[in-house]
């Protein structure tokens, strides 16, 4: 027995650490958005996923909502969602452009987002329309500090 208050908020609760849990892994050669997505650049091509910090807070991912190939994405706007047992979270694109590939593996193995957030848990690949946008993203050091600041408030 529990009340509506729990149920209606269930979708908005995150796994929030009671104690400073130590650093999530942050990779050096990636760029980061403050909504906890990472982007790996290869010329005008960008691979996008969510960070270790994000997957840790989300909990076990059970479903990933992927966009269609060919969809346009805009920096800062949502292109899909990642769902855990208790929460549904938008994923925002750190760059603008067109989706050229989506990680179909995630349909059968959504847990890859937890197990390998920077590698086999990648979500989409985008052909960027505006390369200079990456300048507004954080580098690994900044992002580490950003996460530290949030964790250290404990």
């Amino acid at each position: 027995m529990a009340s509506k208050l729990w149920a209606s908020r269930a979708a908005s609760y995150l796994k929030i650490s009671a104690f400073h849990r130590g650093f999530s892994s942050v990779l050096k050669d990636l760029k980061y958005a403050d909504s906890h997505e990472w982007v790996k650049l290869n010329g005008t091509s960008a691979t996008i996923g969510i960070t270790d910090h994000a997957q840790d807070h989300l909990g076990d991912v059970v479903f990933v909502e992927l966009p269609e190939v060919g969809t346009s994405v805009t920096q800062g706007n949502s292109f899909g969602a990642v769902e855990s047992v208790k929460a549904t979270s938008d994923v925002n694109s750190p760059v603008s452009g067109k989706v050229v590939e989506v990680n179909e593996e995630l349909n059968s193995s959504p847990g890859l987002v937890n197990a390998s957030p920077y590698d086999s848990g990648w979500i989409i690949k985008v052909e960027m329309s505006n390369g200079s946008e990456v300048n507004s993203l954080m580098d690994s050091e900044h992002y580490s500090k950003f996460c530290e600041e949030e964790n250290s408030k404990h």
Binding site: A2, S35, H36, L58, K86, K153
Partner: protein
């Protein structure tokens, strides 16, 4: 593109504002957006159970729930906790729920004016799930009631409905007493409630008491010593597993929790509200506020079995007219369980028939850790409620296939005489 709140970002900002007011040693309450909406400035305004520090020491992630700071999970994930409950066992702190006793020679007659159960027909030491109804036959709350003796009823109501339920009971009690009825109440704020659930629950608890638990069946109640502490024990729960709810004096609650976990050699794990919700959903149990509300009758909710036979003939509870009519003519909507593909269904998602016509709404849903597929509950028009009916569930603008199925989704293991 759907634009929703980016939750982990929100979570971070929630954490930041909530945490700025706590001291380093205490865990922070999460989800302050919720707290802010309800007017809480900081987690200091949330109530704490007797086990709060114990939760924090054991890695509990505390969140606000119904005005209390409760653990949503501990170190393991909600999925692992759920699986462990069914494989071994779980210990939950459910002290936020409100336990009360009704006493007096007319307490049974009094309670019958407010609930659908055949309270008079309960043997002493037995209880049942029931529903408090309003004048329209809708549910005010669900509750597990137990007849301790003919002049003592022990009941537990939902934390989120506490104020509403107590006001309701009190006003009716005043009127009842004014007519000469002998009833009074005691609200057990001096006690805490632990729920011990899972296949190991009975064997672990047996190590802590001399009383023979094999004679205490599902729905049964006993007052006994556990670990040298005088407790109220009910063989009931909210997971579908065999288990108990243990009402213990608050000053001994931590001792008891520690003893249970120790005796189980760690197999019974502290488990939070996140897993509790997964477990009850798998067991097909209603969550008040989602699957049951003020405007939903017990008949619509599929709880006709909880309306005592004599009560169906006699009525005598609030809203009896509406409910008895529904029993005769059938209710207009019915609660159903379903499987679905795609993303986990959530509360308020629309349910359509295979042709795309509106049938109803989802009231609870999620990914089942045990079945590894999506399960959900909702209400559909009567006539379209049969098992096997194909559905479309609309989630964030897209339709996904679903099918109505019987509940419980995971077989229950209630301890009943063979």
């Amino acid at each position: 593109m759907r634009r929703g709140v980016c939750l982990w970002q929100l979570g971070q900002s929630i954490t930041r504002s909530a945490l700025s007011q706590t001291d380093g040693k205490k865990a922070a309450a999460g989800a302050a957006a919720t707290a802010a909406r309800r007017g809480f400035a900081s987690d200091a305004e949330l109530k704490k159970t007797a086990l709060y520090d114990f939760h924090v020491e054991n890695g509990g992630k505390m969140v606000p729930f119904a005005g209390w700071s409760m653990p949503i999970q501990y170190k393991d994930s909600i999925m692992d906790s759920t699986l462990n409950c069914r494989a071994n066992g779980s210990l939950f702190d459910v002290s936020h729920m409100c336990g009360l006793s009704l006493k007096g020679k007319d307490c049974v007659r009094f309670l019958e004016t407010l609930v659908i159960a055949d309270v008079a027909g309960l043997a002493p030491g037995t209880g049942s799930l029931t529903v408090f109804t309003n004048e329209k036959g809708g549910a005010i709350d669900d509750s597990v009631i137990t007849k301790v003796k003919d002049d003592h009823i022990y009941l537990v109501v939902n934390a989120g409905c506490r104020d509403k339920d107590l006001a309701h009971i009190e006003s009716h009690m005043k009127a009842f007493k004014a007519k000469g009825g002998d009833v009074d109440w005691h609200i057990h704020d001096e006690r805490s409630l632990l729920a011990l659930q899972g296949p190991l629950a009975a064997s672990v608890l047996q190590l802590l008491t001399k009383d023979d638990l094999s004679k205490l069946y599902f729905g049964g109640f006993q007052m006994l010593d556990i670990n040298g502490i005088h407790c109220f024990l009910t063989r009931t729960g909210y997971t579908g597993e065999d288990g108990f709810e243990i009402s213990v004096p608050s000053e001994r609650a931590v001792d008891l929790a520690k003893a249970i976990v120790e005796k189980s050699e760690g197999k019974v794990r502290l488990t939070g509200l996140g897993a509790r919700d997964s477990l009850r959903l798998e067991a097909g149990l209603c969550l008040y506020g989602n699957d049951m509300e003020q405007h939903v009758t017990p008949v619509e909710a599929g709880l006709t079995w909880a309306i005592g036979k004599r009560r169906r003939a006699e009525g005598g509870f609030l809203g009896a007219q509406v409910i008895l009519k529904q029993l005769e003519e059938g209710p207009p909507i019915r609660r159903v369980g379903f499987f679905s593909t795609g993303p986990p269904p959530r509360s308020h998602c629309e349910i359509l028939d295979a042709g795309g016509k509106g049938l109803g709404e989802v009231t609870s849903g999620g990914f089942s850790p045990c079945l590894k597929k999506n399960i959900g509950m909702g209400y559909v028009k009567s006539g379209s409620h049969k098992n096997g009916t194909e559905l479309k569930i609309v989630i964030r603008g897209k339709s996904y296939d679903g099918v109505i199925t019987k509940m419980p989704f995971v077989p229950t293991k209630y301890y009943k005489p063979s």
